[in-house]
Symmetry: D2
Subunit: 344 residues, 4 copies
């Protein structure tokens, strides 16, 4: 079977790898669709990010859907041919954080396509994949492309649960890449009353409006628009910060009302923050990292028609053209989510 | 102008009353639509409930929409002819609970159509009404009937905010009168993943399904169905208890998982509770009473199309036929919400 | 070795049992002191409580301290002769509740001296005990009697964490048996500003004052005293309900302010509740059941001198006189906690 | 009467000012003691901080105790000669934040000795002061110096309530000036299980230990000591950041466990933060600003002997020597809190 392997920055290869057989509790899957994520792009363009660096070839990919092909011993509830969304999260279930209900902080996490430990955790961009049945969520009724959106949707649903109740809240989203637009969909599905979104690209802002943003601001064209929300100590209850850029965060902070909650999703390096505003308005900056129960929740909300991610999938390419998906996904002027079709 | 006045149980009269003039900060309104609520029915059938008893004639009604007719000094943001939803809640803004952000617990509350203090607080079922501008929320785009649903919707949205985050939660609703079905709509709008609803009437359960319930149970026909959720210490995260009946609450408690939250909305007398289950599963029984910011939130969510209350309005009658609305509203086999049309 | 075995109500025997050897990860302990708890008394007087009934002989006891005698393979951090407090809580670490950070709701819990499953879980009133090292907390600096108070103290600290922040709160404690007085100590250690306690016994109320209650009320002598707190919708932020008696709970509810939190600790049967007050004041009734991390916390707070439980230990008897401890512990006019000394 | 007036940086004068008479609801007070706070020092050394700059002469001071001298119309519950702690916080009681229960974010706040609005809000370092009765809390049983600590203690108690439940928490305090040491006292009074404190001065660290710190670290002498807490993703649940220095915050962040809460109390300018750690450990950085109900709570906890601030008062000088208090308070090698005695 073929797999998409990153060797170093800009060295992406499609290679043959042997298939695995499912053990007890596992499923053998034929991959359907894989989405290219920002961290995949970091490996592709830079060989990593921060202190996370490629040290050996690694199969990329962690946003995937697949068809059940073979069912391991002891697994019930699945049948051959069924479409499933596959969670890339594999906590150990035994460490202290797993036992505190924080599996996303597992000390022994094996998250698909991650160069954090060494040897690296191999990813899911491969024609054949063996996964634990507990990673697989029935996706009947969804397209393979939608099912592969389960993972980034889980990220923004997790951030939304981190925010506490969302009913009636005024929400600002800075940065309208896939995570930003999924944040809009998530906040809307959780009862937000008003959503304003900012970005530098008219293309992504059009998708933000389609996802439910009440107002969009192109901060390249209208850099002072957010300042209009700063009167009387600010306007927004919740900020999804999806840029990782200090200026965007600072602009958002000025528009936040006292006790507002900032969900930091954009992964950047060190950022300079206006601490005086954070202290005097008693803002809460909350990191949000990955997800766990939210993966199945997101699939269910899509199945019920409460969240529609289809407009976000702007490009689908064949496996043989995989590298073009990486190039498209890097261009916010024309692409939102680029996916690779492994099989129909 | 005419008003609907309750004198004692079963003595409902349409009487002439003088119109008021708007003072500073007020609006004079021409009533559009008024909905009959459970507490109106308590006055109609029993002359009150619990220790709350009619001691003088009282204009009923607190679920109303209206058209702006005249604008008092200092009021901005309204124009004649505009449809508004009118909140019946008038906290004093000066007592200790108002200053703690708990206006629904105001020590000097004047809530429309309430016999709690004496002299009673007169209600809003009257052709002409003078209200504070701060009670009035623009309802442009809604029908007068929808706008009059703003009040009971605020009740269930308040309960929903009392539940904390709702994303992905498994929800049980016991009792599918208007508050129960609005609880379904509210939980769905807040991101609930699974909703099961119970009632004794197939008519209301059909509306519950239309509102988004994934499964409905007629407990008259299938009294043991909830027991199927009791395995492994229970299934549901949240219970909206809308019956006020001890047996319904006890059945719900058996189906709740550890740390589940019970929102007590149904107003009954004393109820016998299975305390052993509450203690050993660490359930949380939370009273939910009226609302405040949720009134404007509900109107906005209806305007955005995120909550659709129209199917709940099963009956509309003319003012001259008002008493028939009280009779219809008492019959769950054929009516959900009965409204009175004061003007077109 | 000798063990205290309950055969049926009023049939308490001291019997010989074989000693066990420690396996890997375990400690062999020589018991120091064991405290008699309310559930032990239920078995002694009634053969059980509610649906929990003795069906075979069972060693009682779950409040114990012990000396380390032998150290199993792989255990570090303990040495022979060391005093430890032994937690009776043994969750499985693998079920869904354990993995959600709720080990007190473990589906496979084996809590010492409990007739809930069959075969029953044997208890810790035995001269020699083999326990998992993870159950044992260093108690150096404490007396064996204090160390044996680690368990009931953990119960009230757990309830206190269930209440959220306690700083500056006004606290009511109804029922001043050991759990009530430990609730006073816990609330005081957590920053409560005002503590009022009620009971029917002057003996226990004197200990309540010594533990930090600002005011005590003997409701037998002064049944209307709590009513003085009902003005302006009530006074108390938090209620520790430690009686399990409906009248005590109802009296407490009348004295609670809006949004007050009721921690239900007293285990009774069904109780009739004034639901109108719970709803209209938006009270929160929260069950609190056992504990987990709070066991080690309580031992640490005693070691630091922040909580002093010594005045509560009113009686200590030799193992040969064990039954007298059960009789003493049942008499609130002269005893608070009665303990059994297994070894010096 | 005499007042301590700052004209510009380093220009501190003792000037004569006329006395005021108490209006209805007010008390005329004879000042007892005033403590010098960090913001007083900013005015003294730099003429302000950040964008807050002196534009006219301003009486300094907001940490004061006083004796009741004259009682205005309608005031009850006070008598002449009584010692009171005086809160410097005067929210308007009518703006939207006051009505949300957030008076510390009042849009019209008049906080003693603050150059934020213009004309400036005059402070309380004056022999005679007229205050609203609602600002005054009975301090019977305290020394005037202790009573004057009510204000900074309220700051740290507010931060502690912002942290939620503290029972059993592992706490790190970075920076052991008065706010840092009061944070230690507050965390201890709220049930923290372990407290580690850092500073650059052995003098302040000795007071930190006296206040209850289990371990102190002089980061000048032992810069790597905190790194020992970084294993397994970190150790501390709560960080009181009292330096306003980016390096201290970054060192603290590395030692925080997942989901840890950082209370930002130190007021600095912009700070560079390690966002990757905040995101991936899902830390929560919460601003904490001033206080409101915590003022009376702190006085009560001191009266009950649960918090002892006396060791922090290292210097007391006469009014005529007031400037020496400002110089002493700036020197962490020998002073913690310096106070000015206005009258005995």
């Amino acid at each position: 079977m073929k797999a998409i392997v990153i060797h170093e920055a800009h060295d992406l290869r499609i290679e043959d790898r042997p298939e695995d057989a499912p053990g007890p509790g596992q499923l053998k899957l034929r991959l359907a669709t894989g989405g290219v994520c920002g961290s995949d792009l970091h490996y592709y363009h830079n060989g990593g990010f921060g202190t996370v660096k490629l040290r050996e070839p690694m199969i990329l990919g962690h946003e995937v859907s697949a068809y059940v092909e073979e069912i391991g011993a002891g697994v019930t509830g699945f049948k051959a041919g069924q479409l499933v969304a596959v969670s890339p999260s594999r906590p150990c279930g035994g460490c202290k954080y797993c036992l505190e209900g924080l599996p996303n902080h597992c000390l022994n996490m094996r998250f698909y396509g991650s160069a954090m430990p060494f040897p690296h955790i191999q990813g899911a961009f491969r024609e054949s994949l063996v996964a634990d049945a507990s990673q697989c969520v029935d996706a009947t009724g969804l397209t393979p492309g939608e099912a592969a959106m389960g993972e980034p949707l889980a990220v923004t649903l997790h951030a939304t649960t981190r925010a506490g109740g969302m009913v009636g809240k005024k929400v600002l989203v800075t940065g309208c890449g896939p995570i930003g637009v999924l944040s809009i969909l998530s906040a809307r599905a959780a009862g937000a009353a008003e959503i304003v979104a900012t970005d530098l690209s008219d293309f992504t802002l059009a998708l933000a409006r389609q996802a439910g943003a009440d107002r969009t601001i192109n901060t390249a064209q209208d850099p002072d628009a957010l300042a209009g929300y700063a009167a009387e100590k600010g306007h927004f209850d919740v900020l999804y910060e999806c840029t990782g850029v200090a200026a965007a965060l600072a602009g958002g902070i000025a528009a936040m009302r006292p006790r507002g909650v900032i969900l930091q999703l954009g992964l950047g390096g060190d950022m300079s923050l206006p601490m005086m505003a954070i202290t005097s308005k008693e803002l809460e900056l909350r990191g949000s990292f990955r997800f766990h129960p939210e993966f199945a929740v997101g699939v269910a909300l899509m199945q019920k028609g409460l969240i529609d991610v289809k407009p976000l999938i702007t490009h689908s390419v064949a496996l043989s053209e995989a590298e073009s998906a990486f190039k498209l996904a890097s261009d916010r002027s024309q692409a939102m989510k680029a996916q690779i079709v492994f099989s129909e």
